[in-house]
Amino acid sequence: MNLNVDLMVNSFPLLVVGAGITIQITAISVGLGLIIGMFVGIARISQVKLLRALAAVYIDFLRGTPLLVQIFLIYFALPVVLGQRVDPFLAAITACGINSGAYIAEIFRAGIQAIDAGQMEAGRSLGMTWPQTMRHIIVPQAFKNIIPPLGNEFIALLKDSSLVSVIGFEELTRRGQLIIARTYGSLEIWICVAIIYLVMTLTISRLVAYLEKRLDTK
């Protein structure tokens, strides 16, 4: 077996640009997912039955169907409804954001439920409403709890974002495919792609561990 090391070295810069794009769509999607997840997660445990039910449907649907199918739905099926093409970048972050929103909602729910029930009682007994108590007392404390699982979600999505290569969006995996189409260096390129993913995920998990430690000692 002979590895074409030159090909690996020459392709590396192109792949690193793709990795940048992968991080970019992951970050945007998790940001979107964080906003969605916060509201859906709170709705999931709200006192309004309808909100709880809607949140449950959202979470079940998005966690119960493959991300790949969700990407197809948004990129291929949605244009049929809208009557116009969807930009691949928009489709990618929408699919990933909505999807991670469901996972982050569950992270939020767990983070909120980990807060001592006495906190809600103390807030309510002072005359604060449920939303006021959530906003000023429960959610700020929950944020601290959810940093580790949120880091895991970021890593999971970073890997899963490779799926958006199927709609032609040129992130890391797609770039790898394109280089292989030109050079036939399948083994070399996939090794490079795997290494780049690994470096990213390891870096992020170290970063999260560090952050967790800093918050702990505060």
Binding site: E121, R124, L126, G127, M128
Partner: protein, 239 residues
């Protein structure tokens, strides 16, 4: 000030309060004693609707909590102090005390801060304004919790075993603050095992067992001459 009629509370099949009638006058200090699990906390928590009564009426300061009342509005007038303090750990002591007046009563921040500092002075913790609750001792935390409740200028204060989670040497600093409150004319309902406090500060003592008020009266008299066997038995264990 508080008027409870035929209050029942069940958790599922389990009936915890079995018909409580209780009237508390303005400025009265009512001390509630009884064995663990007898329903003391549940009774207290029905007075600000942290527990929803199964049947009966609870009227506080003229508002019927068991009708379709604005419960948040009613709770502004009812302070509560918990066994485990329940301070907000992510906020400084000062912000713990200012939060509800600012968010609920819409008191201007400067005024709320002045009130908070005055209350900290009153509970002897002026120097702890910028500390976070986990940095304080149990007794200090409970005094902050009392100040936090008082900041809403409530008409009634409910205390659920406020000294039970404290190391013995910290009990008195909390009881002293409560005595001060009673002397200033606050209406209070206090669940406690501190019989000395009951005797000294209580206007009336209630003995609760198995979800019923078994006996009540002037603390001194109940202690010295209990009318019911169950009261006698309980007192013989705790006195």
């Amino acid at each position: 000030m508080i008027d409870i009629k035929n209050l029942h509370k069940s958790f599922g099949e389990h009936e915890v309060l079995k018909g409580i009638d209780l009237h508390i006058d303005p400025q009265e200090v009512v001390v509630i004693i009884g064995p663990s699990g007898s329903g003391k906390s549940t009774l207290l928590r029905c007075m600000n609707l942290l527990e929803e009564p199964t049947s009966g009426t609870v009227v506080v300061d003229g508002i019927d909590l068991t009708a379709k009342a604005d419960i948040n509005k009613a709770r502004e007038e009812i302070g509560m102090v918990f066994q485990r303090f329940n301070l907000f750990p992510h906020m400084t002591v000062l912000h713990n005390i200012m939060l509800a007046p600012v968010k609920v009563r819409h008191v201007p921040r400067a005024e709320a801060e002045a009130t908070a500092r005055a209350l900290l002075e009153r509970v002897g913790l002026s120097d702890k304004a910028d500390a976070y609750p986990p940095q304080l001792s149990g007794g200090q935390q409970q005094r902050v919790a009392i100040a936090r409740a008082l900041a809403m200028k409530p008409k009634v204060m409910l205390f659920d075993e406020p000294t039970s989670a404290l190391d013995p040497e910290m009990v008195n600093e909390v009881l002293d603050v409560m005595k001060g409150l009673a002397n200033d004319g606050m209406t209070m309902a206090v669940v406690t095992h501190e019989m000395g406090f009951a005797r000294e500060v209580g206007d009336r003592l209630l003995f609760v067992d198995e979800g019923r008020i078994i006996e009540q009266g002037v603390p001194q008299e109940v202690f010295e001459n209990p009318q019911e066997d169950r009261t006698r038995l309980f007192l013989s264990k705790v006195l």
